[in-house]
Symmetry: C2
Subunit: 348 residues, 2 copies
């Protein structure tokens, strides 16, 4: 290809409406419920006989992402996925999103287009429609605020507060990988900042890097529940780490929690990476966050249906409210109290 | 009162969940459609037989507001109202909002509580429910992103693209006041920055300052349409100035526009303020923006119903697509072309 490298286009050159036109020209709808999208004062959605589920999340530069090592397309993708994850956590299906972006002049039109490519890729994969948004300037960093809208039959909605004593506690996928990926990225950033000729050493880390930079939401789990007629008693997505989410769920449900360290699903790459960094892999799972897996409880009756389901691990069971929140440590009988940040042995 | 002045509480002191608890503890619902609000992964809304209308807007410090002269409570109020205005512009009724805020450490917990007071006041007045949101830190400025959700019968939805030749062009309220208010605030800011002992001179400017700092959305107009059985053919809210919105509406509807300068409603305070500043009051109305009035077109048949309606002005009529966008200048027969920013006489 002989195509010349084009200069980035400053935002000021295209104007707000020109920018919106460039960013939204490829939008295609997947949902027949999307009646009116971008280009009017508001979007119009027609959901019949189902409840509407709404969630919103904001990603802030320097807080939630570092542009030094975050590909813009992945950033757009992730900003959608973290919201879809909240919709799935209600046992609902996402249908539409709105996206608002505040960007400083440092961000070019092409950079915003890359972010939108990631947004649209997520829309393709999860079959959601981008129906509205706002694009504005910012005096400093880049901020992406996404609102996701989904639907479910009212009877299928799963809140955080339905867990009952003896229910099984399950998680999808594996935990701690996004945190391990972040540690590797931060390590390589430090190396790079000390010596800008160093090439980053990311070999063999693909899985954990992807978990950090381009996570997925657990669409297939919600589809599995529907297909198998399983109604979880409580569910929450794991954005802040397993410990924190277990406690949210237990508090809302007014129950106790007992999990087993050796049942927590952790990918081998996460284990080896955490060990390389002299960190405990279980800590990555408990406190790392950004896994966007689903944590749910189901009545014991479903045990046979769930025990051999690929991608689902039974990690413990719900106990009485007064029993507290505990993890049985690996290879021992010792009980470790689960805390929202960090964990302490009470067997000293 | 002997109450001591309390020190502002830094955000770091209360933590994310403590903060959310403080900010959302007073939330009360007004809508029976709000099934699940703050405190789960997503909100759940039950709308029967109506379509859902969704809009989102982001307010960025230094771009949309200046904390030097913007009371935080007003800022919270305005961040909601600008979104409700978009819902009304679809001839729909807002029911729920989500609010995401990114705040730097410079913003105290008490400051966020003031913003939330304004948000909740808007919720009271417009009977909308705050059902979700996200609160996060920011490395620099304050950003507020609001999504509003409303409902309407599908047949009542008014888009931008329905205007027909000979329809009347109408606006609610008066235009240019928010812009005039902003000019006064900016003038007093400059004076203050030169001499910090100067007291700002804002006497007699209450109306235009309120229009800038604490605008209202035109709920009563949508109620009036419903009561009178009036179905506008097209509608848009005036956030960027009359010129820009006229052109949006005309382009979407594929029509031409003719308005009359002397029919544009401008408050006397706006006129005197603009004249004090050696600026043209009509320019404030055409290009000022932030009025949050509604611009709409209605078939001629409604003329008798609308002509004596308080708070509604007929400013012109829809013309053929090829006739372009024109304003008949005050006191003359000269036609001035309407442009999105600024306007030029073509009678030179």
């Amino acid at each position: 290809m002989n195509e010349e490298q084009k200069e980035p286009t400053p935002l000021t050159e295209v104007g707000e409406f020109g920018l919106i036109e460039r960013l939204t020209k490829n939008i295609k709808f997947h949902q027949k419920s999307s009646l009116v999208g971008v280009g009017d004062d508001a979007a119009v959605i027609k959901n019949e006989d189902e409840v509407t589920v709404v969630t919103t999340d904001m990603l802030v530069e320097g807080v939630h992402f570092d542009l030094l090592y975050t590909p813009l397309k992945h950033l757009g993708y992730k900003s959608v996925v973290v919201n879809l994850s909240d919709i799935y956590a209600m046992n609902a299906k996402p249908k539409q999103i709105t996206v608002s972006i505040a960007a400083s002049n440092r961000i070019s039109v092409e950079a915003l287009e890359e972010i939108y490519e990631g947004i649209q890729l997520a829309c393709e994969i999860y079959k959601v429609d981008l129906v509205g948004g706002d694009t504005t300037s910012s005096l400093s960093g880049l901020i992406i605020s996404v609102t996701a809208i989904g639907t479910a039959s009212e009877s299928r909605i799963v809140k955080r507060n339905g867990a009952k004593e003896n229910d099984l506690i399950c998680v999808s996928g594996d935990l701690g990988a996004a945190y391990a990926g972040l540690q590797v990225l931060e390590r390589e950033k430090s190396v790079y900042q000390e010596n800008q000729n160093m090439q980053p050493d990311l070999s063999g880390k693909d899985y954990i890097l992807e978990r950090q930079l381009k996570p997925e939401a657990r669409m297939e789990l919600v589809q599995f529940f529907e297909k198998e007629g399983i109604q979880p008693s409580a569910m929450i997505d794991i954005s802040d780490g397993l410990s924190s989410e277990l406690i949210h769920l237990a508090k809302a449900s007014e129950v106790g929690i007992q999990i087993y360290e050796d049942k927590i699903p952790i990918d081998p790459t996460t284990v080896t990476t955490m060990e390389e960094l002299n960190l405990n892999p279980t800590l990555a799972a408990l406190n790392g966050g950004e896994d966007y897996e689903l944590l749910f409880t189901i009545p014991l009756d479903y045990h046979d249906k769930i025990k051999n389901t690929p991608g689902v691990s039974i990690i413990g069971h719900v106990t009485d409210k007064n029993a507290g929140y505990f993890m049985v440590a690996k290879g021992t009988e010792s009980m470790v109290e689960i805390k929202a940040q960090g964990w302490q042995s009470n067997m000293e």
